[in-house]
């Protein structure tokens, strides 16, 4: 055989390997760039006022996003009230009670809902809640985010519960404990860490959502004292400030983006650190 052909094949292989490495670097580059720019531009515009003051009117510089930060926390709480019970209990049904066909249907629906664009949730809640009572409200925004959380939490809960060994359940049945107590005290407890992980990841995902808030929360520059009034949220404020022509608002948009991404990444990384190597007995 021609030795040059052999070398040519080796060279080709090395070239493709280098190309693949290059692809990996290009994929990771945006993350590095975004984080670098956020730290560079966000950190310099972040001060105490950002966390403690209300937004200033157009044209005045200074002010902060205190109401948006509190608003985001409020909305996350409302979303959790909606999403966590439904998602966890639905997940329990799939893993403990459901028939094959029913489970398939529910998982199918959850997967489709997970792929539904977030703006669609916004206009659906707009049509269901905001239009009938002609009022933007924190409740509507919380509902939109909560509905988004349901399929996310349901899928992870089921996954975690299925990993609990059947022998645990059988042992408990053998002691004559009612099924519901087995689920609550033994199965849920064993899978607890995994389920909390799922909930936190869903919260991190929903905390950064802006599109569902456009048609539900509306946003404003004041404190929200009543949950049936419009409410401001951090991602929404960032969107408004970034798209405005005022440089001071742009500056604050960077600061807001930095705060938001630190929160989201902290949740993500924290969850990963918390779960790393902690559930070996479930890994069957």
């Amino acid at each position: 055989m021609n030795p040059w052909y052999y070398h040519w094949r080796k060279i080709k292989s090395s070239c493709v390997s280098a190309l693949c490495l290059l692809c990996a670097l290009v994929v990771i580059a945006p993350l590095a760039l975004v984080l670098f720019n956020l730290l560079q531009k966000g950190a310099s515009s972040l001060d105490l006022h950002f966390f403690t003051q209300l937004p200033k009117p157009v044209g005045e510089s200074g002010g902060g996003m205190a109401n948006a930060i509190v608003g985001s926390a409020t909305l996350l709480g409302l979303a959790g009230l909606m999403g966590i019970p439904v998602g966890v209990l639905g997940g329990i049904y799939l893993s403990e009670f459901g028939s094959l066909r029913m489970n398939w249907a529910v998982r199918f629906a959850a997967d489709i809902l997970n792929g539904t664009p977030s703006i669609v949730w916004g206009i659906v809640v707009y049509a269901l809640v905001v239009l009938p009572i002609t009022r933007y409200s924190a409740y509507a925004a919380g509902l939109a985010l909560g509905l988004m959380m349901i399929p996310l939490i349901l899928r992870t809960t089921e996954e975690m519960l299925v990993m609990v060994p059947n022998s645990y359940r059988e042992a408990a049945f053998a002691l004559g404990i009612p099924h519901w107590k087995i689920v609550l005290h033994i199965v849920l407890k064993t899978a607890g860490r995994g389920i909390i992980t799922g909930i936190l990841l869903a919260a991190a995902r929903v905390a950064g959502e802006t599109a569902p808030l456009l048609f539900t929360a509306l946003g404003n520059d004041y404190w929200n004292h009543n949950l049936s009034d419009p409410i401001e949220a951090l991602p929404h404020k960032i969107f408004i400030y970034a798209s405005s022509p005022f440089s001071d608002w742009n500056r604050q948009a960077w600061a807001g983006a930095l705060v938001l991404i630190l929160f989201v990444l902290a949740l993500n990384i924290g969850v990963r650190v918390m779960t790393r190597g902690r559930t070996p007995h479930l890994a069957k």
Partner: protein, 325 residues
Amino acid sequence: MNAAIVSGKTGSPAGLALAPPGKAGDKVFRLLTWLMAMMVLALLALVGWTLCRGSALSLTKFGWSFCVHSDWDPVNGDFGALTFIYGTFVSSLLALFIALPLSLGTAVYLTELAPGWVRQPAISMIEMLAAIPSVVLGVWGIFVMVPWLRDGPYPLLLKYFGFLPLFRSPATGFCILSASVLIAIMILPIITSIAREVFRAVPDAQREAAFALGATRWEVTRLAVLRYSVRGIFGAAMLGLGRALGETMAVTMVIGNSDKISASLLSPGNTLASKIANEYAETLKGIPLSALFELGLMLLLVTVVTNILAHLLIGALGARQRPGT
């Protein structure tokens, strides 16, 4: 201890079999969880029904012409979605065109080539990229990416490919191509992670057989891995496309928001999602509102169809996710 509780409740050991404890509790609990699971099914129906009902006016008034008509004229009450359908598909397909090769290369690197100590950190970083909120990428897009594209690559494109109708119009930077680049960044992680899973599912015997025949690493990858997972790669691409079609905030922030249709990729446009997002806080009524809901309905339909196709290809829809992935 349990025996004491049980006997305390039933009175006699014989009664234990006749009246097992907690039957009522079981029924209530089962019903409760069943209701919650049913809520997911109901929710899917509710989303579809709400959008259909909301767009009824527009559906009856415009019919199919809504899809092939490019005027969006609230003053004269004339609505067509062609501009947004065009914008959605062009920006998403272009994003897929950019993201797919990069993702496949990365997935090949991570499964076939990378040394062990690189693998986990790299995977974590790609997952972090997926966690960046859309609006944050939008901020970065407006202030960093768009100015860079406008001053660097776009003038070059105009200079060397300006004869093509694709690259006409002066480059303001806020255009369909910018939106595509941003969407590509957002769908990289999902395609990479699915492709990685698909490649990992290729039996090692395939690779070993190819190596035994004297294949180089690239030949092993091409013949044993890539050819084996064509179907899965299509699935990953479809899933990425599904995400791309529905991407809202980042796109709204960089696409320029124009309701005019244009062949040039460097001119502003709008997608279904960004058009809806732009109309918020407007007090819409009647036909305009209904037309907006119809845009939402179309968006829902295309994402549902691509997602179902994707999952049929990967074979995962409604399936249990494999643990540890």
